[in-house]
């Protein structure tokens, strides 16, 4: 994990938004990857959802949990999808 604090805009959808109580928030995080962001927001909001069936996007591009996050990024946290 990178040692520097990064400013990340985190956006929550569906179940995650209800857990967080907000649609988005700007956080200062010590996070190197999308996974780090997910886990720190999970701690923050007391959510227990594992990331297994969830998806993540960075700056409107679908990403992997191992994708690096940069200062100023927007990270979108998607709970399990259920379209149709």
């Amino acid at each position: 994990m990178s040692g520097s604090e990064k400013t990340i805009l985190v956006r929550y959808f569906a179940m995650f938004r209800e857990h967080a109580g907000v649609g988005e928030e700007t956080l200062s995080l010590n996070a190197a990857t999308a996974k780090d962001v997910f886990e720190q927001t999970r701690l923050r909001h007391g959510s227990k959802e594992p990331n297994g069936h969830c998806k993540v996007a960075i700056n409107d591009e679908m990403a992997d949990w191992s994708s690096p996050v940069e200062d100023g990024d927007t990270v979108l946290l998607f709970p399990p999808v259920a379209g149709g």
Binding site: F13, A14, M15, E18, G52, H53, K55, A57, D60, M62, L76, F78, P79, P80, V81, A82, G83, G84
Partner: protein, 144 residues
């Protein structure tokens, strides 16, 4: 062409947009809101979508289907907001020269859309409870 809308989906209008003089087969799929899920009575459904990535990921799915099952025309529309029993939630239509590609492309598209698009569904039950539906197929998808 993929579209997200909070308005009623006009399936006939969507179908007309697929007209092609070389098309001999047309297959469509519609997802309807039904009154039951996992043994619980459902009164209505609420759909939430993140449109920018629904569009981006939907275009990828249509392109993949075209490569696998060469079709002539395909379209997809997904509705958002509060829907009642019997309402049309998602529409997929494919026109092709012969019926085999139409069926296979249509099936591929709806299967992938359901697994990959950032769309969520909240069920409102007859007993007043409600809950977000988790994708039944996600586990299978992750293992591919």
């Amino acid at each position: 062409m993929i579209e997200v809308t909070s308005a009623v989906i006009d399936a006939e209008k969507q179908k007309r947009a697929l007209c092609n003089a070389g098309a001999g087969g047309y297959c469509s799929f519609e997802g309807w809101v039904r009154n039951e899920n996992d043994g619980r009575l459902v009164n209505r459904l609420e759909y939430e979508a993140y449109e920018p990535l629904v569009i981006a990921e939907g275009k990828k799915v249509l392109a993949e289907a075209l490569q696998r099952f060469p079709y002539l025309e395909a379209r997809c529309v997904h509705r958002t907001g509060l829907l009642e029993i019997g309402d049309l939630a998602v529409w997929v239509g494919v026109a092709s020269a012969h019926r085999d590609e139409a069926f296979k492309a249509c099936r591929y598209i709806i299967d992938e859309l359901k697994m990959r698009l950032p769309i969520w569904k909240k069920e409102h039950y007859a007993d007043g409870d409600s809950g977000w539906v988790n994708c039944e197929r996600c586990a299978a998808h992750d293992q591919r």
